[in-house]
Symmetry: C2
Subunit: 434 residues, 2 copies
Amino acid sequence: MHLVVIGGVAAGMSAASRARRLSRDLKITVLERSSVVSYGACGLPFWIGGTVQDPDSLIAHPPEFFERERDIRVRTNTAVREIAPARHRVLLESGEELAYDRLVIATGARAATPPIPGADLPHCFQFRTWEDAHLLEAFLLERQPRAAAVVGAGFVGLEMAEALLARGLRVSLFDQSNHFLGWRDEWLSAQIRDQLQRAGVALHLGEPVREIREGAVDAVPADVVVLAPGIRPNVELTAAAGIALGRSGAIAVNEFLETNISGIYAAGDCAETHHLLLNAPAWIPLGTTANKMGRVAGANAAGRRERFPGVLGTSILRVCGAAVAVTGLSEPAAREAGFRPVSAAIESRTRALYFGGEAVKVKLIADRASGKLLGGALVGKEGVEGRINVLATALTAGLRVEEFQFADLCYAPPYATVWDPLLIAAQQLLKEIG
Amino acid sequence: MHLVVIGGVAAGMSAASRARRLSRDLKITVLERSSVVSYGACGLPFWIGGTVQDPDSLIAHPPEFFERERDIRVRTNTAVREIAPARHRVLLESGEELAYDRLVIATGARAATPPIPGADLPHCFQFRTWEDAHLLEAFLLERQPRAAAVVGAGFVGLEMAEALLARGLRVSLFDQSNHFLGWRDEWLSAQIRDQLQRAGVALHLGEPVREIREGAVDAVPADVVVLAPGIRPNVELTAAAGIALGRSGAIAVNEFLETNISGIYAAGDCAETHHLLLNAPAWIPLGTTANKMGRVAGANAAGRRERFPGVLGTSILRVCGAAVAVTGLSEPAAREAGFRPVSAAIESRTRALYFGGEAVKVKLIADRASGKLLGGALVGKEGVEGRINVLATALTAGLRVEEFQFADLCYAPPYATVWDPLLIAAQQLLKEIG
């Protein structure tokens, strides 16, 4: 029995490792197009920003580790040309054919190419892969640019703005939207814009970039440009093989993460997953989801029958020193899904002032009809990750605001306030629901 | 309509303030035996320890504030001698009688008196009230003791051990039990003992103190002794008035926090509350519960009909620099309640090392029969408060381990790991459940 995994980063290596833990007999091969596997791609912006000193420290394990410790064959620099499901074969770029019994597709996503004139100039860099990061770092070291432009204000764009500021560059941030994180929420967007502006990022939001020239983006000086216009799933191989895509354009999978072709699984950024609140497929490519899906796909490829329940789109990122986190549905998304969203936003404090407590802002969203929590967002210098996870847990369980308002959360002066900001927001939200 | 509240700290002032927000017409009087109201009693150990510079900063509002801003009459230094429910009267120590229409009893708890010879010597101090703290502080300043003994290793005892260490004293901690926080859990107790020992606290656990003399507790030198043998509810007034007590000895209340006498409510440390997992009354006196109960009792005294759902006993405290937190049932408590507890304990990391991530230890407990989570404990230098709250939320919702194991918790290198320690523990626990 031969399990072949295409892609050796988060989902792929999780799948291979889990399959090995569940089965000693399986032959397992991972095919990775690039030269590295099992690295923390999410850490790359922090190498550019200087927090991570050595990028090699982001590599969890070298390929040899998997061979030696887990009996997993890892073939780097190995691109796949074609999947032939009828013959249970994978055809490599080299011409070699590989027979498989089970296949896990973890081809990830790639940076979209923005249709901006000049985006292919040599001072323009994408920022997605290990190689991308090394190309940018080399340019920054050699050319010592003074002014940077970041085009695209998604996760990568926001993290790169902070990283380039930390390196002492002047930073301008461009996005055709005024909003962030796909939330279309003016309250949240205003917090993020405020955070960026106070850190000194020049904002050019709400209109598309027209042109990149040497030394400038539109009329704004820029010696180096980071292109972060979003990502799209790597699905060319699978589409050609007759593996069905979902409406999002990513690979469609069932709750066992199996594609429309029996024995072929997909996991991570190349695949759709189930949205727990929309109760429908969604494409929300995130590192934590990729690891979880990889674990489940690997188990099922090894003969188990595990369900991946789905996601809420919980995410967090640092924006110039403040944590910004969301989970569940924004108000527009809730409305589009047929809910009647109602919200409340409050500002409170994480801990007593004498323990260095910080301001924290909370927005909660619920459905007026059912009283169920639908989503929330937090912004603050501390205590954001724990609270967004509390909210994610409440959403996982389908709690109503009324059930959540008296949640028995912990209190002691070094760690919390008597009334947690989440509960204050819940009480405010109950008033709004009426 | 006259609402009288007996007790002006957490539960009492919450009740009075909520009643006022809901009703402009109500006449509200708070009777407080001591000279201060509305102070953060939980902050007092941190004044002794030096984090809080000025104890007055722990007073949320002076009595005049409530009179002026909320039209609440606050009578300090006013002790109640008797409650006469048949006549709707409260008799004060001064002889004065006060008529009430609704009564909220928030008399709190007091330090138990340990039956130890010598516990009444002048170098022995209880540590419960504003006055207690001031007496101890004055002694520390005047006598400059070098060696302290803390008798009792509950919340107050553990916090006082840290506070006295921070002031430069040698500290010995005594308790007749080897365990902490009522958890009877060797895993948890070992973590706490280890933390105390590494900080330099001399432990004398597992046998009762026989005698306190001037300069020593048993054979251990001690120039000052803090007695923290636990607390008991202040129920003398209510018992004499025919207000029923529960099996714990605290005041019995229904879900509206009403006592057996219509129109008389009880809230905070003097009252029982509902335990969500035991589905039975329990006495778990904590500041956060007192505030919540006060809010509900005040609302109902003002004519509403709000339910207080109950508690899980979630608590956190700092033990010599590390956070220790519990929620739900320990294994012995779960067994006694008829569950079949099974547990898993793991050690993991809060964040990437390059972001200063810390070790965190997690124990999760579930019921083998139903697969439901029953409780958990965490120990670590960061990220404990957020995770115990996630767990408390999962317990509130009655989640099964299987439902929790893929919870969509947040991830980004500055804030979290891809697999949250809680999820790693959940996966381990699933294996134990089998």
